[in-house]
C-alpha cells in the first residue's frame, strides 16, 4: 500500500483520538474510542502485524470499549454523571505546552533512532526448537514465556481487585442487571446460533496461533464475547460468583502454565519445554489459558456482584 494511504490512515487515527479524548458527551467519546481502536487495528494490518491487530481489535477496542460503556452506565446510575466543571484556562495552557514539549521530545528521539534490526533476526534462528510457525507465539510462549505468565496473573489479579469492590451484602452474588427473559426475538435466536460458531472460531484461533496469527488472548476474547451476547440475549444469567467451578475455571490456565514452569524447574530449567514435545505442551497451555482468559474477561466486564 502506498504512503498516501498510510498518511490518510494516520490522520484519521489522530482525528478519532482527538474526538474520543475531547468529546463533550461521554458516550460519544466512547464510541469514537472504539472507532479509534478499529483504525489502530487497521494500522497494524498495514504494518503486517496481524497478531497485534487481532489483539487490538478484540481487546483494545472491543473489551475496553464494552468496559467503558459499562462504567459509564454505572457512574451515571450512581449519580456521578453530572457535567464536569470546566478546567481553568491556565491549566489548559500549561498542559498544552507540556504536551507540545513532550511531542517534540519524543519525535526528536524517534528521529534520532539509529535504526537496527532489533531481534528480528534472532527469532527465526531459534524458532525451530519450539516447533511453532508463528514467531509471535514463539516469543509469547517460548522466549518470553515468563512475561506472559506474569501477564496472565495480572489479569487474574485484576479480577480479584474488581471483586474486592463488591458491596459486602452482595458478596458471592451475581454481577450485572438481570437480562433473563422468555427467549424470543432476533437477539435470542442470534444468541442460540452464536455459541457453537464462536467456539469453533476460538478453537481455530488457538490451533492456528501456533503457526499463523492468533493465540490464547484473541481466542479467549472471542469466547468472552460469545458469553456476553448470550447474557445480553437473555438466554442465560451471569453465574453466581461464589461457585467453585467458576473459580476453578479462572485459575485453570494460570495454574497449568505455572505447573509447566515448575515441572521445568524440577528438571533444571524453569519455563522450558521438553525437547521434541514443545508444541503439544504449548497447545495444552494455550487451550487452558483460553478458557481462563475467556472467563476472566467476561467476569471483568460483568464487574462485582450486584445482586444476591
Amino acid at each position: 500500500m502506498s504512503l498516501a494511504f498510510d498518511l490518510a490512515l494516520c490522520i484519521l487515527i489522530l482525528g478519532a483520538a482527538a474526538l474520543a479524548v475531547f468529546g463533550r458527551d461521554l458516550f460519544g467519546s466512547i464510541v469514537f474510542f472504539i472507532v479509534y481502536g478499529v483504525l489502530i487495528a487497521l494500522a497494524w494490518i498495514t504494518l503486517g502485524a496481524v497478531d497485534v491487530s487481532l489483539a487490538e481489535a478484540a481487546i483494545g477496542a472491543g473489551v475496553t470499549g464494552v468496559l467503558l460503556i459499562g462504567a459509564w452506565q454505572g457512574i451515571r446510575d450512581g449519580g456521578g454523571g453530572e457535567p464536569e466543571a470546566p478546567t481553568p484556562w491556565p491549566l489548559h495552557l500549561a498542559a498544552g505546552g507540556a504536551a507540545a514539549a513532550l511531542c517534540g521530545v519524543i519525535s526528536f528521539a524517534v528521529l534520532s533512532l539509529p535504526g537496527h534490526d532489533g531481534l528480528a533476526g534472532e527469532v527465526p534462528e531459534n524458532q525451530g526448537a519450539l516447533e511453532l510457525g508463528n514467531p509471535v507465539t514463539g516469543v509469547l510462549l517460548g522466549f518470553r514465556a515468563y512475561d506472559t505468565l506474569l501477564e496472565t496473573l495480572v489479569l487474574t489479579a485484576a479480577l480479584a481487585a474488581v471483586w474486592s469492590l463488591t458491596p459486602s451484602q452482595f458478596w458471592g452474588g451475581i454481577p450485572g442487571p438481570n437480562h433473563v427473559k422468555p427467549p424470543d426475538g432476533v437477539l435470542a435466536s442470534f444468541g442460540r446460533m452464536l455459541p457453537p460458531r464462536g467456539l469453533i472460531v476460538a478453537v481455530y484461533l488457538v490451533w492456528a496461533g501456533a503457526d499463523a496469527p492468533g493465540g490464547a488472548f484473541q481466542a479467549g476474547t472471542v469466547l468472552a464475547a460469545v458469553w456476553i451476547l448470550i447474557v445480553l440475549a437473555g438466554l442465560r444469567d451471569e453465574p453466581r460468583l461464589s461457585r467453585l467451578p467458576l473459580r476453578a475455571l479462572i485459575i485453570l490456565g494460570p495454574l497449568v502454565f505455572l505447573g509447566v514452569g515448575l515441572i521445568g524447574m524440577l528438571l533444571g530449567a524453569p519455563l522450558s519445554y521438553p525437547e521434541g514435545q514443545a508444541k503439544p505442551v504449548i497447545l495444552v497451555i494455550e487451550y487452558a489459558l483460553t478458557l481462563s482468559i475467556a472467563a476472566t474477561l467476561a467476569l471483568l466486564i460483568a464487574g462485582p456482584a450486584r445482586r444476591r
Binding site: I106, A157, P270
Partner: protein, 493 residues
C-alpha cells in the same frame, strides 16, 4: 536459577490457591510464610557467594529473560520476606477465617500474594519490559488493597500509578528501539551507540518511577492512601511497595546506564531526596492522626534513599563508587521495611484497642498495651537512627559517606532528618506514657498480635547489631564496586 524462579512462582501459586480455597484461604499463610522465608534464606546464602541467576527457559538475552539476584536484591528479598510473612500472619486477625466468606476476607489474600510475587519479581528481573509487567502487577494489587481504606485516595493513587506506568513504558520502548535489547547488562554495553534517544527514554522511565516511589514533590498521593488503609495494608504499601520502583531506578542508573548518568542528575535526585526528608518530617510533626504521622514519615524516609545517587556517584566515570553509601542505602531500604511495617501494625493495635486514631486520645496506652508500645518504641529507634539499630547503620554509613565526599549539605540534612524523626516519633510515645490512668480498651486484642510488631522491631534492631553480615551481603555484586568507601567505613558501631 530455579530458586529465583520459585521466588516469584511460589507466591503466584499461593495466589491461585487462595482464589480457589475461599473461606479456608487464610490458613495458607501458615504454609506460605515458612516456605517464602526458606526460599529467601536460600537465595541470600546463594547470593552471598556472588550474584546468582541465569536465563529462563534456556533462552539467553537478548532473546530471553535473565533473572539474577545480586547481594542487594537478596538482602531486600530476605527483608521483605520477613516483613510480608509477619504482616501476613498479623492479617489473620482481620482477614482470617470466619464463619462465612466476605468480600475482604476473600480478596485480601490473592492481592497479598500477588503483591509479594510482584515484589520478588522486581527484585530478580534483569529485563526492562519484564520489570514493567511485574511493576504493573504490584501497582494493581497495591491500589486494590489501598481501596480497602479510602476509595478516593486509591483513585488518586491509581491515576498516579497509571501515569507513571505509561512514562516508564514509553521509556522502555525508546530504549529498545535504540539499542535492540531489554536486558540491563546488554543495554550497558550498547547504550553508547544512541545516546540521545536512550537518555530521553531513561528520563521518561525515571519520571514514572519517581511518581510511583512518591519522591517529593510527587508524594501527594501517598499519605492519604497509606494513612487511610487498614494497618496491615498500610504496612505492606509503606514498607514494601514503594521500594520496588526505587529499586528499578537503581537498576537503570547504576547498572544499565551508569555512563549516561551525569553529576547534575545525581545532584538533582539528591536535592529532591533532601526536600523529601525535610518536608516529610515537618509534615509528620504536624499530624494529629497516628497513622497519618507514620505515612508522612515514609515520605521523609524515602528521601534518604536518593542520597545514594550523589554520594555513591551515579556515573561510573565521574566519581568512584562509594560502597559505604551503597551499603547505607541497603540498610535504609531493609531497616525501613521492617520498622515501618512494625510501626503501622503497632499503631493498628493501639487504634483498634483504644477506638481512636488521634494521638491526643492515646494517653496511657503504654499501661494498657505495654508490649505493643514497646514494639512501637523499638521500631521508632530504628527510624530515628539511634544505635544499635539497622536505621542507625543506614544513617551512620550515609553520614560518613557524605562527610568523606565533602557533601556537607547532605550531612546536615541527615542530621536534621534524624532530629526531626526523633521529634515526630517522640510525640506519640510521650503521649502513650503520659497520665496515670490506664484507659479502658474498646476492643479485645488477641495476645499474639503485639508479637508481630515486636518481632519486626527486634529484626530492625538485629540488623544493626549484626551489621557486618548484612553489610557484606548488600555490597556483594555491587555494580563496578570501587574500593573507595570500603576501606574507610568500618561496618558495625
Amino acid at each position: 536459577m530455579s530458586l529465583l524462579f520459585a521466588l516469584a512462582a511460589a507466591p503466584l501459586g499461593f495466589m491461585l490457591a487462595s482464589l480457589i480455597l475461599g473461606r479456608r484461604a487464610p490458613h495458607l499463610i501458615w504454609i506460605a510464610a515458612p516456605v517464602m522465608l526458606a526460599l529467601a534464606v536460600l537465595v541470600a546464602l546463594g547470593a552471598s557467594a556472588g550474584a546468582t541467576g541465569g536465563p529462563l527457559g534456556g533462552w539467553d538475552a537478548p532473546l530471553g529473560i535473565v533473572l539474577e539476584a545480586d547481594g542487594l536484591a537478596a538482602a531486600l528479598i530476605l527483608a521483605s520476606a520477613v516483613t510480608a510473612a509477619i504482616t501476613g500472619l498479623f492479617a489473620l486477625a482481620r482477614f482470617g477465617p470466619a464463619g462465612r466468606e466476605t468480600t475482604r476476607r476473600y480478596t485480601f489474600w490473592p492481592l497479598f500474594y500477588g503483591l509479594w510475587a510482584a515484589l520478588n519479581a522486581v527484585f530478580i528481573s534483569r529485563d526492562l519490559f519484564n520489570l514493567y509487567v511485574a511493576l504493573e502487577l504490584l501497582s494493581l494489587c497495591a491500589v486494590a488493597l489501598a481501596a480497602f481504606g479510602s476509595r478516593k485516595a486509591a483513585m488518586h493513587y491509581l491515576m498516579v500509578a497509571l501515569a507513571g506506568s505509561l512514562a516508564y513504558l514509553l521509556g522502555v520502548v525508546l530504549i529498545f528501539a535504540s539499542v535492540g535489547t531489554l536486558d540491563i547488562g546488554l543495554i550497558a554495553q550498547r547504550a553508547g551507540d544512541a545516546r540521545t534517544p536512550v537518555l530521553i527514554g531513561a528520563a521518561l522511565m525515571s519520571a514514572g518511577l519517581l511518581a510511583k516511589t512518591a519522591l517529593f514533590p510527587l508524594h501527594g498521593w501517598l499519605p492519604p492512601a497509606h494513612g487511610a488503609a487498614p494497618p496491615v495494608v498500610s504496612a505492606l504499601l509503606s514498607a514494601l511497595v514503594v521500594k520496588a520502583s526505587f529499586f528499578i531506578l537503581l537498576r537503570i542508573w547504576f547498572e544499565a546506564l551508569p555512563a549516561l548518568a551525569g553529576p547534575d542528575m545525581a545532584q538533582a535526585f539528591g536535592v529532591l531526596g533532601a526536600g523529601a526528608v525535610l518536608y516529610g518530617s515537618v509534615l509528620a510533626l504536624r499530624q494529629q492522626g497516628l497513622k497519618a504521622l507514620i505515612a508522612y514519615s515514609t515520605v521523609a524516609q524515602l528521601g534518604y534513599l536518593f542520597f545514594v545517587f550523589p554520594l555513591a556517584g551515579a556515573g561510573g566515570a565521574v566519581t568512584p563508587w562509594a560502597a559505604g553509601a551503597w551499603g547505607a542505602m541497603g540498610f535504609q531500604l531493609s531497616a525501613h521495611m521492617l520498622a515501618k511495617a512494625g510501626l503501622f501494625l503497632a499503631a493498628g493495635i493501639i487504634i483498634h484497642a483504644l477506638g481512636s486514631g488521634t494521638i491526643r486520645d492515646m494517653a496511657g496506652a503504654g499501661r494498657a498495651l505495654p508490649v505493643t508500645v514497646l514494639a512501637f518504641g523499638l521500631c521508632a529507634i530504628s527510624l530515628m537512627g539511634l544505635p544499635p539499630s539497622g536505621g542507625f547503620m543506614a544513617k551512620y554509613l550515609m553520614l560518613i559517606a557524605a562527610l568523606e565526599s565533602g557533601a556537607w549539605p547532605y550531612a546536615a540534612v541527615i542530621i536534621a532528618g534524624g532530629l526531626l524523626a526523633a521529634a515526630y516519633l517522640f510525640r506519640p510515645i510521650a503521649r502513650f506514657m503520659s497520665g496515670t490512668d490506664t484507659p479502658a480498651l474498646q476492643a479485645r486484642v488477641h495476645w499474639a498480635l503485639p508479637l508481630a510488631p515486636l518481632a519486626l522491631g527486634l529484626c530492625a534492631l538485629t540488623l544493626g547489631v549484626l551489621s557486618a553480615g548484612p553489610y557484606e551481603l548488600m555490597v556483594t555484586g555491587l555494580p563496578q564496586a570501587g574500593e573507595a568507601g570500603l576501606d574507610e567505613v568500618e561496618p558495625g558501631p
